[in-house]
Assembly symmetry: C2
DNA sequence: CGATTGGTTGAGCCCATTCAACGAATGTGG
DNA sequence: CCACATTCGTTGAATGGGCTCAACCAATCG
Protein backbone atom coordinates (compact mmCIF):
# COMPACT_ATOMS: atom_id res chain seq x y z
CA UNK A 1 0.00 0.00 0.00
CA UNK A 2 2.75 2.38 0.90
CA UNK A 3 4.59 1.59 -2.28
CA UNK A 4 1.45 2.20 -4.19
CA UNK A 5 1.02 5.68 -2.91
CA UNK A 6 4.60 6.67 -3.52
CA UNK A 7 4.50 5.65 -7.11
CA UNK A 8 1.17 7.25 -7.56
CA UNK A 9 2.25 10.55 -6.23
CA UNK A 10 5.09 10.52 -8.70
CA UNK A 11 2.81 9.59 -11.55
CA UNK A 12 0.36 12.27 -10.64
CA UNK A 13 3.14 14.76 -10.33
CA UNK A 14 4.37 13.93 -13.79
CA UNK A 15 0.92 14.28 -15.18
CA UNK A 16 0.15 17.55 -13.47
CA UNK A 17 3.49 19.01 -14.39
CA UNK A 18 3.03 18.42 -18.06
CA UNK A 19 -0.56 17.96 -18.86
CA UNK A 20 -2.46 21.00 -17.83
CA UNK A 21 0.18 23.71 -18.11
CA UNK A 22 1.29 22.56 -21.54
CA UNK A 23 -2.26 22.31 -22.61
CA UNK A 24 -2.40 26.02 -23.24
CA UNK A 25 1.02 26.36 -24.73
CA UNK A 26 0.33 24.96 -28.16
CA UNK A 27 -2.21 27.64 -28.78
CA UNK A 28 0.28 30.32 -27.90
CA UNK A 29 2.68 28.88 -30.40
CA UNK A 30 0.29 29.48 -33.24
CA UNK A 31 0.89 32.71 -35.14
CA UNK A 32 -1.77 35.44 -35.07
CA UNK A 33 -2.54 34.68 -38.67
CA UNK A 34 -3.34 31.10 -37.80
CA UNK A 35 -5.56 32.28 -35.03
CA UNK A 36 -7.64 34.35 -37.38
CA UNK A 37 -8.33 31.28 -39.42
CA UNK A 38 -9.71 29.40 -36.48
CA UNK A 39 -13.46 29.46 -36.66
CA UNK A 40 -15.13 28.44 -33.49
CA UNK A 41 -17.66 25.71 -34.08
CA UNK A 42 -18.46 24.11 -30.74
CA UNK A 43 -17.91 27.31 -28.73
CA UNK A 44 -20.93 29.04 -30.14
CA UNK A 45 -23.00 25.90 -30.55
CA UNK A 46 -26.31 26.05 -28.75
CA UNK A 47 -26.16 22.40 -27.79
CA UNK A 48 -22.57 22.51 -26.58
CA UNK A 49 -23.47 21.22 -23.15
CA UNK A 50 -25.36 18.27 -24.56
CA UNK A 51 -22.53 17.19 -26.80
CA UNK A 52 -18.93 16.02 -26.53
CA UNK A 53 -17.69 19.38 -25.19
CA UNK A 54 -19.97 19.12 -22.16
CA UNK A 55 -18.17 20.13 -19.00
CA UNK A 56 -15.03 21.42 -20.68
CA UNK A 57 -13.60 24.89 -20.15
CA UNK A 58 -13.76 27.44 -22.96
CA UNK A 59 -10.07 26.94 -23.57
CA UNK A 60 -10.46 23.19 -23.81
CA UNK A 61 -13.45 23.48 -26.08
CA UNK A 62 -11.48 25.78 -28.34
CA UNK A 63 -8.77 23.17 -28.67
CA UNK A 64 -11.25 20.41 -29.34
CA UNK A 65 -13.05 22.65 -31.73
CA UNK A 66 -10.21 23.67 -33.96
CA UNK A 67 -8.65 20.29 -34.34
CA UNK A 68 -11.57 17.99 -34.26
CA UNK A 69 -14.82 19.29 -35.55
CA UNK A 70 -15.51 19.40 -39.23
CA UNK A 71 -19.06 20.23 -40.10
CA UNK A 72 -20.74 18.27 -42.80
CA UNK A 73 -24.28 18.34 -44.22
CA UNK A 74 -26.19 15.12 -44.84
CA UNK A 75 -29.32 15.03 -46.93
CA UNK A 76 -32.44 13.22 -45.86
CA UNK A 77 -32.21 9.56 -46.79
CA UNK A 78 -28.43 9.57 -47.14
CA UNK A 79 -26.18 7.28 -45.14
CA UNK A 80 -23.56 8.78 -42.87
CA UNK A 81 -21.87 5.40 -42.87
CA UNK A 82 -22.79 1.82 -43.59
CA UNK A 83 -22.11 -1.55 -42.04
CA UNK A 84 -18.61 -2.64 -42.91
CA UNK A 85 -17.21 0.83 -43.60
CA UNK A 86 -13.85 1.35 -41.96
CA UNK A 87 -14.10 3.46 -38.87
CA UNK A 88 -12.27 6.77 -38.91
CA UNK A 89 -14.50 9.30 -37.21
CA UNK A 90 -17.19 9.75 -34.67
CA UNK A 91 -20.02 12.09 -35.64
CA UNK A 92 -21.87 14.46 -33.37
CA UNK A 93 -25.29 15.41 -34.62
CA UNK A 94 -25.42 19.19 -34.90
CA UNK A 95 -28.89 19.53 -36.32
CA UNK A 96 -31.25 16.96 -37.73
CA UNK A 97 -32.25 13.42 -36.97
CA UNK A 98 -30.72 10.00 -37.61
CA UNK A 99 -31.49 6.36 -37.14
CA UNK A 100 -29.02 3.53 -36.71
CA UNK A 101 -29.82 -0.06 -37.58
CA UNK A 102 -28.00 -3.36 -37.64
CA UNK A 103 -28.53 -6.03 -40.23
CA UNK A 104 -28.98 -9.71 -39.59
CA UNK A 105 -27.58 -12.18 -42.11
CA UNK A 106 -31.01 -13.25 -43.26
CA UNK A 107 -32.06 -9.72 -44.13
CA UNK A 108 -33.90 -8.83 -40.97
CA UNK A 109 -32.84 -5.55 -39.48
CA UNK A 110 -33.15 -3.92 -36.09
CA UNK A 111 -33.24 -0.19 -35.47
CA UNK A 112 -30.90 0.38 -32.52
CA UNK A 113 -31.46 4.05 -31.95
CA UNK A 114 -32.62 7.47 -33.05
CA UNK A 115 -30.11 10.30 -32.64
CA UNK A 116 -30.80 14.00 -32.39
CA UNK A 117 -28.75 17.14 -31.78
CA UNK A 118 -25.80 16.60 -29.48
CA UNK A 119 -25.84 12.81 -29.64
CA UNK A 120 -22.87 10.85 -30.89
CA UNK A 121 -22.84 8.39 -33.76
CA UNK A 122 -20.27 5.67 -34.29
CA UNK A 123 -19.38 4.68 -30.73
CA UNK A 124 -19.96 1.04 -31.55
CA UNK A 125 -17.31 1.06 -34.26
CA UNK A 126 -14.44 1.76 -31.87
CA UNK A 127 -14.28 -1.87 -30.87
CA UNK A 128 -13.61 -3.34 -34.29
CA UNK A 129 -12.44 -0.40 -36.44
CA UNK A 130 -15.43 -1.09 -38.66
CA UNK A 131 -18.92 0.25 -38.49
CA UNK A 132 -21.32 -2.44 -37.45
CA UNK A 133 -24.49 -0.54 -38.21
CA UNK A 134 -25.96 1.82 -40.78
CA UNK A 135 -26.58 5.46 -39.89
CA UNK A 136 -29.21 7.16 -42.04
CA UNK A 137 -30.40 10.76 -41.91
CA UNK A 138 -34.17 10.95 -41.42
CA UNK A 139 -34.15 14.64 -42.33
CA UNK A 140 -31.65 17.08 -43.78
CA UNK A 141 -28.99 17.22 -41.10
CA UNK A 142 -25.58 18.55 -40.17
CA UNK A 143 -22.99 16.52 -38.30
CA UNK A 144 -19.63 17.40 -36.80
CA UNK A 145 -17.02 14.90 -37.85
CA UNK A 146 -14.54 13.98 -35.14
CA UNK A 147 -11.53 12.04 -36.47
CA UNK A 148 -11.09 9.42 -33.81
CA UNK A 149 -7.32 9.00 -33.84
CA UNK A 150 -6.86 12.69 -33.21
CA UNK A 151 -9.59 12.62 -30.64
CA UNK A 152 -7.81 9.87 -28.73
CA UNK A 153 -4.59 11.86 -28.81
CA UNK A 154 -6.36 14.89 -27.50
CA UNK A 155 -7.94 12.77 -24.81
CA UNK A 156 -4.47 11.84 -23.64
CA UNK A 157 -3.66 15.49 -23.19
CA UNK A 158 -6.96 16.61 -21.75
CA UNK A 159 -7.90 14.30 -18.92
CA UNK A 160 -11.14 16.19 -18.63
CA UNK A 161 -12.10 15.32 -22.16
CA UNK A 162 -11.17 11.70 -21.70
CA UNK A 163 -13.18 11.44 -18.52
CA UNK A 164 -16.21 12.91 -20.22
CA UNK A 165 -15.80 10.55 -23.10
CA UNK A 166 -15.70 7.54 -20.79
CA UNK A 167 -19.00 8.76 -19.46
CA UNK A 168 -20.41 9.18 -22.94
CA UNK A 169 -19.56 5.59 -23.75
CA UNK A 170 -20.96 4.39 -20.47
CA UNK A 171 -24.17 6.34 -21.03
CA UNK A 172 -24.65 4.57 -24.31
CA UNK A 173 -24.31 1.26 -22.46
CA UNK A 174 -26.95 2.41 -19.99
CA UNK A 175 -29.26 3.56 -22.76
CA UNK A 176 -29.05 0.18 -24.43
CA UNK A 177 -29.74 -1.60 -21.16
CA UNK A 178 -32.92 0.42 -20.95
CA UNK A 179 -33.90 -0.87 -24.37
CA UNK A 180 -33.11 -4.40 -23.26
CA UNK A 181 -35.49 -3.96 -20.34
CA UNK A 182 -38.09 -2.56 -22.69
CA UNK A 183 -37.73 -5.33 -25.27
CA UNK A 184 -37.36 -8.09 -22.74
CA UNK A 185 -40.12 -7.40 -20.29
CA UNK A 186 -42.62 -4.80 -21.44
CA UNK A 187 -45.85 -5.22 -23.31
CA UNK A 188 -46.52 -3.36 -26.53
CA UNK A 189 -48.40 -0.43 -25.04
CA UNK A 190 -45.74 0.08 -22.39
CA UNK A 191 -43.04 0.06 -25.04
CA UNK A 192 -44.71 2.68 -27.17
CA UNK A 193 -45.51 4.84 -24.17
CA UNK A 194 -41.90 4.62 -23.00
CA UNK A 195 -40.74 5.54 -26.47
CA UNK A 196 -42.94 8.62 -26.66
CA UNK A 197 -42.05 9.76 -23.16
CA UNK A 198 -38.36 9.38 -23.92
CA UNK A 199 -38.66 11.29 -27.17
CA UNK A 200 -40.62 14.08 -25.50
CA UNK A 201 -38.03 14.35 -22.77
CA UNK A 202 -35.18 14.62 -25.24
CA UNK A 203 -37.01 17.26 -27.24
CA UNK A 204 -37.75 19.33 -24.17
CA UNK A 205 -34.12 19.19 -23.00
CA UNK A 206 -33.31 20.78 -26.33
CA UNK A 207 -35.69 23.63 -25.63
CA UNK A 208 -38.24 22.28 -28.01
CA UNK A 209 -41.78 21.49 -27.07
CA UNK A 210 -42.01 18.42 -24.94
CA UNK A 211 -45.61 17.77 -25.90
CA UNK A 212 -45.75 18.41 -29.63
CA UNK A 213 -43.69 15.76 -31.33
CA UNK A 214 -42.90 15.64 -35.01
CA UNK A 215 -41.82 12.10 -35.69
CA UNK A 216 -39.16 11.84 -38.33
CA UNK A 217 -39.33 8.07 -38.63
CA UNK A 218 -41.91 5.74 -40.13
CA UNK A 219 -44.16 3.40 -38.17
CA UNK A 220 -41.96 0.61 -39.38
CA UNK A 221 -38.85 2.24 -37.90
CA UNK A 222 -40.63 2.67 -34.59
CA UNK A 223 -41.82 -0.91 -34.73
CA UNK A 224 -38.35 -2.23 -35.43
CA UNK A 225 -36.92 -0.20 -32.59
CA UNK A 226 -39.58 -1.44 -30.18
CA UNK A 227 -39.68 -5.04 -31.37
CA UNK A 228 -43.17 -4.65 -32.78
CA UNK A 229 -44.74 -4.76 -36.24
CA UNK A 230 -45.74 -1.53 -37.91
CA UNK A 231 -49.42 -2.47 -37.78
CA UNK A 232 -49.17 -2.85 -34.03
CA UNK A 233 -47.60 0.58 -33.69
CA UNK A 234 -50.32 2.09 -35.83
CA UNK A 235 -53.06 0.38 -33.83
CA UNK A 236 -51.56 1.49 -30.54
CA UNK A 237 -51.30 5.09 -31.68
CA UNK A 238 -54.94 4.97 -32.71
CA UNK A 239 -55.87 3.50 -29.36
CA UNK A 240 -53.90 6.11 -27.41
CA UNK A 241 -55.69 8.69 -29.53
CA UNK A 242 -59.10 7.20 -28.71
CA UNK A 243 -58.20 7.08 -25.04
CA UNK A 244 -57.38 10.77 -25.06
CA UNK A 245 -53.68 10.32 -24.37
CA UNK A 246 -52.52 11.63 -27.73
CA UNK A 247 -53.59 13.67 -30.69
CA UNK A 248 -52.30 11.81 -33.70
CA UNK A 249 -52.12 13.30 -37.19
CA UNK A 250 -49.74 11.16 -39.17
CA UNK A 251 -46.31 12.01 -37.89
CA UNK A 252 -47.49 14.96 -35.86
CA UNK A 253 -48.24 13.79 -32.36
CA UNK A 254 -49.34 15.90 -29.48
CA UNK A 255 -49.19 14.48 -26.00
CA UNK A 256 -52.43 15.35 -24.24
CA UNK A 257 -52.04 13.33 -21.05
CA UNK A 258 -48.43 13.23 -19.90
CA UNK A 259 -49.41 11.66 -16.58
CA UNK A 260 -51.45 8.93 -18.18
CA UNK A 261 -48.62 8.11 -20.52
CA UNK A 262 -46.15 7.91 -17.67
CA UNK A 263 -48.52 5.64 -15.80
CA UNK A 264 -48.45 3.23 -18.70
CA UNK A 265 -44.68 3.04 -18.62
CA UNK A 266 -44.75 2.15 -14.97
CA UNK A 267 -42.36 4.86 -13.87
CA UNK A 268 -43.72 7.40 -11.41
CA UNK B 1 -5.71 22.79 -41.86
CA UNK B 2 -2.13 23.97 -41.72
CA UNK B 3 -2.70 25.44 -38.32
CA UNK B 4 -4.15 22.16 -37.25
CA UNK B 5 -1.11 20.19 -38.11
CA UNK B 6 1.30 22.57 -36.47
CA UNK B 7 -0.48 22.49 -33.20
CA UNK B 8 -0.90 18.80 -33.41
CA UNK B 9 2.72 18.10 -33.95
CA UNK B 10 3.45 20.14 -30.86
CA UNK B 11 0.84 18.32 -28.86
CA UNK B 12 2.09 14.97 -30.01
CA UNK B 13 5.62 16.00 -29.26
CA UNK B 14 4.66 16.95 -25.75
CA UNK B 15 2.93 13.68 -25.23
CA UNK B 16 5.68 11.52 -26.60
CA UNK B 17 8.33 13.41 -24.73
CA UNK B 18 6.69 12.86 -21.40
CA UNK B 19 4.34 10.00 -21.58
CA UNK B 20 6.25 6.91 -22.49
CA UNK B 21 9.72 7.79 -21.21
CA UNK B 22 8.37 8.88 -17.86
CA UNK B 23 6.21 5.84 -17.73
CA UNK B 24 9.12 3.75 -16.62
CA UNK B 25 10.64 6.27 -14.31
CA UNK B 26 8.20 5.96 -11.45
CA UNK B 27 9.06 2.31 -11.10
CA UNK B 28 12.75 3.13 -10.94
CA UNK B 29 12.07 5.58 -8.19
CA UNK B 30 10.70 2.88 -5.96
CA UNK B 31 13.20 1.38 -3.54
CA UNK B 32 14.21 -2.29 -3.88
CA UNK B 33 12.30 -3.05 -0.74
CA UNK B 34 9.14 -1.74 -2.32
CA UNK B 35 9.77 -3.87 -5.33
CA UNK B 36 9.93 -7.04 -3.29
CA UNK B 37 6.47 -6.34 -1.96
CA UNK B 38 4.98 -6.12 -5.40
CA UNK B 39 3.15 -9.32 -6.19
CA UNK B 40 2.27 -9.78 -9.79
CA UNK B 41 -1.37 -10.56 -10.31
CA UNK B 42 -2.26 -9.93 -13.94
CA UNK B 43 1.19 -10.89 -15.26
CA UNK B 44 0.80 -14.54 -14.45
CA UNK B 45 -2.94 -14.65 -15.03
CA UNK B 46 -4.00 -17.23 -17.58
CA UNK B 47 -6.70 -15.00 -18.99
CA UNK B 48 -4.56 -11.90 -19.22
CA UNK B 49 -5.18 -11.47 -22.93
CA UNK B 50 -8.94 -11.68 -22.47
CA UNK B 51 -9.02 -9.07 -19.75
CA UNK B 52 -8.17 -5.41 -19.26
CA UNK B 53 -4.40 -5.97 -19.74
CA UNK B 54 -4.94 -7.32 -23.27
CA UNK B 55 -2.42 -5.89 -25.68
CA UNK B 56 -0.25 -4.20 -23.08
CA UNK B 57 3.48 -4.77 -22.73
CA UNK B 58 4.82 -6.65 -19.71
CA UNK B 59 6.04 -3.38 -18.27
CA UNK B 60 2.67 -1.76 -18.67
CA UNK B 61 0.86 -4.74 -17.21
CA UNK B 62 3.17 -4.64 -14.22
CA UNK B 63 2.22 -1.05 -13.60
CA UNK B 64 -1.47 -1.75 -13.99
CA UNK B 65 -1.09 -4.78 -11.84
CA UNK B 66 0.57 -3.25 -8.85
CA UNK B 67 -1.60 -0.23 -8.55
CA UNK B 68 -4.91 -1.42 -9.73
CA UNK B 69 -5.75 -5.01 -9.13
CA UNK B 70 -6.94 -6.16 -5.78
CA UNK B 71 -8.22 -9.69 -5.73
CA UNK B 72 -11.37 -10.42 -3.86
CA UNK B 73 -13.41 -13.61 -3.41
CA UNK B 74 -17.18 -13.56 -3.77
CA UNK B 75 -19.33 -16.44 -2.58
CA UNK B 76 -22.10 -17.91 -4.68
CA UNK B 77 -25.27 -15.89 -4.26
CA UNK B 78 -23.50 -12.81 -2.94
CA UNK B 79 -23.79 -9.42 -4.60
CA UNK B 80 -20.67 -7.72 -5.87
CA UNK B 81 -22.67 -4.51 -5.93
CA UNK B 82 -26.29 -3.47 -5.98
CA UNK B 83 -28.37 -0.88 -7.78
CA UNK B 84 -27.77 2.52 -6.21
CA UNK B 85 -24.37 1.72 -4.69
CA UNK B 86 -21.86 4.47 -5.31
CA UNK B 87 -19.44 3.55 -8.04
CA UNK B 88 -15.80 3.29 -7.04
CA UNK B 89 -14.36 0.34 -8.89
CA UNK B 90 -14.65 -1.78 -11.93
CA UNK B 91 -14.33 -5.51 -11.41
CA UNK B 92 -12.68 -8.00 -13.71
CA UNK B 93 -13.89 -11.54 -13.26
CA UNK B 94 -10.87 -13.69 -12.50
CA UNK B 95 -12.66 -16.98 -11.98
CA UNK B 96 -16.33 -17.76 -11.59
CA UNK B 97 -19.57 -16.60 -13.09
CA UNK B 98 -21.84 -13.58 -12.57
CA UNK B 99 -25.13 -12.22 -13.73
CA UNK B 100 -26.16 -8.58 -13.91
CA UNK B 101 -29.76 -7.44 -13.80
CA UNK B 102 -31.64 -4.17 -13.75
CA UNK B 103 -34.80 -3.56 -11.79
CA UNK B 104 -37.93 -1.87 -13.05
CA UNK B 105 -39.92 0.27 -10.63
CA UNK B 106 -42.81 -2.18 -10.57
CA UNK B 107 -40.61 -5.06 -9.50
CA UNK B 108 -39.95 -6.64 -12.86
CA UNK B 109 -36.31 -7.29 -13.54
CA UNK B 110 -34.24 -7.94 -16.64
CA UNK B 111 -31.03 -9.92 -16.72
CA UNK B 112 -28.65 -7.87 -18.84
CA UNK B 113 -25.71 -10.22 -19.02
CA UNK B 114 -23.71 -13.16 -17.76
CA UNK B 115 -20.01 -12.54 -17.13
CA UNK B 116 -17.20 -15.04 -17.02
CA UNK B 117 -13.42 -14.93 -16.63
CA UNK B 118 -11.84 -11.85 -18.15
CA UNK B 119 -15.04 -9.89 -18.53
CA UNK B 120 -15.55 -6.54 -16.85
CA UNK B 121 -18.30 -5.62 -14.45
CA UNK B 122 -19.46 -2.10 -13.68
CA UNK B 123 -18.93 -0.31 -16.99
CA UNK B 124 -22.46 1.03 -16.89
CA UNK B 125 -21.83 2.83 -13.61
CA UNK B 126 -19.23 5.18 -15.05
CA UNK B 127 -21.93 7.40 -16.50
CA UNK B 128 -23.69 8.26 -13.27
CA UNK B 129 -21.23 7.35 -10.48
CA UNK B 130 -23.82 4.93 -9.23
CA UNK B 131 -24.39 1.32 -10.10
CA UNK B 132 -27.54 0.92 -12.08
CA UNK B 133 -27.70 -2.85 -11.90
CA UNK B 134 -27.12 -5.71 -9.48
CA UNK B 135 -24.17 -8.04 -9.97
CA UNK B 136 -24.59 -11.44 -8.34
CA UNK B 137 -22.14 -14.34 -8.26
CA UNK B 138 -23.70 -17.51 -9.69
CA UNK B 139 -20.86 -19.59 -8.28
CA UNK B 140 -17.96 -19.04 -5.91
CA UNK B 141 -15.86 -16.49 -7.77
CA UNK B 142 -12.84 -14.25 -7.59
CA UNK B 143 -12.77 -10.73 -8.99
CA UNK B 144 -10.00 -8.19 -9.45
CA UNK B 145 -11.08 -4.85 -8.11
CA UNK B 146 -9.93 -1.89 -10.21
CA UNK B 147 -10.41 1.46 -8.45
CA UNK B 148 -11.69 3.61 -11.25
CA UNK B 149 -10.22 6.97 -10.31
CA UNK B 150 -6.77 5.49 -10.27
CA UNK B 151 -7.48 3.60 -13.44
CA UNK B 152 -8.43 6.82 -15.20
CA UNK B 153 -5.22 8.44 -14.02
CA UNK B 154 -3.22 5.52 -15.28
CA UNK B 155 -5.07 5.72 -18.57
CA UNK B 156 -3.86 9.29 -18.92
CA UNK B 157 -0.29 8.09 -18.62
CA UNK B 158 -0.62 4.94 -20.70
CA UNK B 159 -2.26 5.78 -23.98
CA UNK B 160 -2.21 2.12 -24.82
CA UNK B 161 -4.30 1.27 -21.80
CA UNK B 162 -6.75 4.05 -22.52
CA UNK B 163 -7.15 2.96 -26.11
CA UNK B 164 -7.82 -0.60 -25.04
CA UNK B 165 -10.33 0.61 -22.53
CA UNK B 166 -12.20 2.63 -25.14
CA UNK B 167 -12.48 -0.59 -27.08
CA UNK B 168 -13.69 -2.48 -24.06
CA UNK B 169 -16.48 0.04 -23.58
CA UNK B 170 -17.34 -0.03 -27.25
CA UNK B 171 -17.43 -3.83 -27.25
CA UNK B 172 -19.98 -3.74 -24.50
CA UNK B 173 -22.08 -1.42 -26.64
CA UNK B 174 -21.81 -3.88 -29.51
CA UNK B 175 -22.69 -6.82 -27.30
CA UNK B 176 -25.83 -5.07 -26.13
CA UNK B 177 -26.81 -4.22 -29.68
CA UNK B 178 -26.64 -7.91 -30.41
CA UNK B 179 -29.08 -8.53 -27.58
CA UNK B 180 -31.34 -5.82 -28.93
CA UNK B 181 -31.39 -7.61 -32.27
CA UNK B 182 -32.11 -10.86 -30.51
CA UNK B 183 -34.91 -9.45 -28.35
CA UNK B 184 -36.36 -7.30 -31.07
CA UNK B 185 -36.51 -9.61 -34.02
CA UNK B 186 -35.85 -13.25 -33.19
CA UNK B 187 -38.26 -16.00 -32.31
CA UNK B 188 -37.89 -17.98 -29.13
CA UNK B 189 -36.00 -20.92 -30.61
CA UNK B 190 -33.58 -18.59 -32.38
CA UNK B 191 -32.96 -16.73 -29.17
CA UNK B 192 -32.16 -19.82 -27.18
CA UNK B 193 -29.96 -21.22 -29.94
CA UNK B 194 -28.08 -17.93 -30.16
CA UNK B 195 -27.64 -17.94 -26.41
CA UNK B 196 -26.20 -21.46 -26.35
CA UNK B 197 -23.92 -20.82 -29.32
CA UNK B 198 -22.62 -17.65 -27.69
CA UNK B 199 -22.01 -19.40 -24.40
CA UNK B 200 -20.21 -22.28 -26.10
CA UNK B 201 -18.01 -19.86 -27.99
CA UNK B 202 -17.01 -18.00 -24.88
CA UNK B 203 -16.22 -21.23 -23.06
CA UNK B 204 -14.07 -22.51 -25.89
CA UNK B 205 -12.11 -19.24 -26.10
CA UNK B 206 -11.25 -19.89 -22.47
CA UNK B 207 -9.86 -23.30 -23.36
CA UNK B 208 -12.85 -25.04 -21.93
CA UNK B 209 -15.01 -27.42 -23.85
CA UNK B 210 -17.15 -25.67 -26.37
CA UNK B 211 -19.69 -28.45 -26.48
CA UNK B 212 -20.19 -29.44 -22.85
CA UNK B 213 -21.81 -26.56 -21.07
CA UNK B 214 -22.47 -26.36 -17.38
CA UNK B 215 -25.06 -23.66 -16.94
CA UNK B 216 -24.65 -21.68 -13.79
CA UNK B 217 -27.95 -19.85 -14.07
CA UNK B 218 -31.55 -20.96 -13.63
CA UNK B 219 -34.10 -21.33 -16.40
CA UNK B 220 -35.66 -18.17 -15.08
CA UNK B 221 -32.39 -16.26 -15.47
CA UNK B 222 -32.06 -17.47 -19.03
CA UNK B 223 -35.66 -16.56 -19.72
CA UNK B 224 -35.23 -13.08 -18.34
CA UNK B 225 -32.11 -12.55 -20.40
CA UNK B 226 -33.84 -13.76 -23.57
CA UNK B 227 -37.18 -12.09 -22.98
CA UNK B 228 -38.94 -15.42 -22.46
CA UNK B 229 -40.70 -17.15 -19.59
CA UNK B 230 -38.93 -19.95 -17.78
CA UNK B 231 -41.49 -22.48 -18.99
CA UNK B 232 -40.71 -21.53 -22.57
CA UNK B 233 -36.99 -22.01 -21.99
CA UNK B 234 -37.63 -25.39 -20.43
CA UNK B 235 -39.88 -26.48 -23.29
CA UNK B 236 -37.37 -25.34 -25.88
CA UNK B 237 -34.52 -27.21 -24.23
CA UNK B 238 -36.69 -30.33 -24.19
CA UNK B 239 -37.50 -29.82 -27.86
CA UNK B 240 -33.86 -29.31 -28.81
CA UNK B 241 -33.15 -32.48 -26.88
CA UNK B 242 -35.85 -34.40 -28.77
CA UNK B 243 -34.55 -33.07 -32.06
CA UNK B 244 -31.08 -34.37 -31.30
CA UNK B 245 -29.47 -30.95 -31.07
CA UNK B 246 -28.67 -31.17 -27.39
CA UNK B 247 -28.26 -33.57 -24.54
CA UNK B 248 -29.94 -31.93 -21.57
CA UNK B 249 -29.50 -33.07 -17.99
CA UNK B 250 -30.63 -30.24 -15.80
CA UNK B 251 -27.90 -27.65 -16.01
CA UNK B 252 -25.51 -29.92 -17.85
CA UNK B 253 -25.96 -29.43 -21.53
CA UNK B 254 -24.02 -31.07 -24.28
CA UNK B 255 -24.22 -29.68 -27.77
CA UNK B 256 -24.64 -32.59 -30.14
CA UNK B 257 -25.31 -30.74 -33.39
CA UNK B 258 -23.33 -27.52 -33.57
CA UNK B 259 -24.26 -27.02 -37.21
CA UNK B 260 -27.94 -27.49 -36.61
CA UNK B 261 -27.83 -25.04 -33.75
CA UNK B 262 -26.06 -22.46 -35.88
CA UNK B 263 -28.63 -22.94 -38.61
CA UNK B 264 -31.35 -22.01 -36.15
CA UNK B 265 -29.63 -18.76 -35.30
CA UNK B 266 -29.47 -17.83 -38.93
CA UNK B 267 -25.76 -17.14 -39.00
CA UNK B 268 -23.91 -19.47 -41.36
C1' DC C 1 -38.79 -35.11 7.97
C1' DG C 2 -41.21 -31.12 5.79
C1' DA C 3 -40.04 -26.85 3.40
C1' DT C 4 -38.06 -24.64 -0.34
C1' DT C 5 -36.19 -24.04 -4.77
C1' DG C 6 -35.68 -25.42 -9.46
C1' DG C 7 -37.36 -27.90 -13.42
C1' DT C 8 -40.82 -30.26 -16.56
C1' DT C 9 -45.05 -30.72 -18.85
C1' DG C 10 -50.06 -30.03 -20.06
C1' DA C 11 -54.31 -27.22 -21.32
C1' DG C 12 -56.31 -23.09 -22.56
C1' DC C 13 -55.94 -18.34 -23.59
C1' DC C 14 -54.54 -13.87 -25.27
C1' DC C 15 -51.67 -10.52 -27.35
C1' DA C 16 -49.28 -9.45 -31.17
C1' DT C 17 -48.69 -11.11 -35.75
C1' DT C 18 -50.05 -12.23 -40.45
C1' DC C 19 -52.62 -11.43 -44.37
C1' DA C 20 -55.29 -8.37 -46.74
C1' DA C 21 -57.82 -4.41 -48.41
C1' DC C 22 -58.00 0.33 -48.78
C1' DG C 23 -56.89 5.46 -48.51
C1' DA C 24 -53.77 9.45 -48.49
C1' DA C 25 -49.75 11.71 -49.82
C1' DT C 26 -45.89 12.26 -52.69
C1' DG C 27 -43.29 12.04 -56.67
C1' DT C 28 -42.46 11.04 -61.70
C1' DG C 29 -42.80 11.17 -66.48
C1' DG C 30 -45.55 11.97 -70.48
C1' DC D 1 -51.81 19.11 -66.26
C1' DC D 2 -53.15 14.25 -65.39
C1' DA D 3 -52.09 9.20 -64.99
C1' DC D 4 -49.54 6.18 -62.58
C1' DA D 5 -46.42 4.16 -59.29
C1' DT D 6 -44.66 4.12 -54.85
C1' DT D 7 -44.47 4.81 -50.10
C1' DC D 8 -46.74 5.30 -45.86
C1' DG D 9 -50.48 4.66 -42.76
C1' DT D 10 -54.95 2.65 -41.08
C1' DT D 11 -58.08 -0.93 -40.07
C1' DG D 12 -60.28 -5.65 -40.13
C1' DA D 13 -60.30 -10.80 -39.60
C1' DA D 14 -58.03 -14.88 -38.59
C1' DT D 15 -54.00 -17.22 -36.81
C1' DG D 16 -50.59 -18.79 -33.72
C1' DG D 17 -46.51 -18.41 -30.62
C1' DG D 18 -45.51 -17.71 -26.27
C1' DC D 19 -47.86 -16.85 -21.85
C1' DT D 20 -50.70 -18.11 -17.78
C1' DC D 21 -52.23 -21.25 -14.66
C1' DA D 22 -51.60 -25.48 -12.67
C1' DA D 23 -49.98 -29.99 -11.31
C1' DC D 24 -46.19 -32.72 -10.43
C1' DC D 25 -41.34 -34.30 -9.61
C1' DA D 26 -36.39 -33.99 -8.04
C1' DA D 27 -32.81 -32.13 -5.36
C1' DT D 28 -31.26 -29.62 -1.56
C1' DC D 29 -31.35 -27.95 3.04
C1' DG D 30 -32.61 -26.92 7.63
Amino acid sequence: MQGDTVIFKVLRGVRNAINFPRLRNPLHLVSPMDFSELKSVCCGCSIRELCLPAGLTDQEVLLLDQHMSHRQPIKKGESLYRTGDTFRSLYAVSTGFFKTSILHEDGRSQVTGFQMAGEILGLDAISTDRHICDAVALEDSVVCEVPFERFEELGQLMSNLQRRFNRTLSSEIVREQGIMLLLGSMRSEERLAAFLVNLAKRFSIRKQSGSELVLRMTREDIGSYLGLKLETVSRLLSRFHDEGLLDVHGRNIQILDQVGLNRLVGST
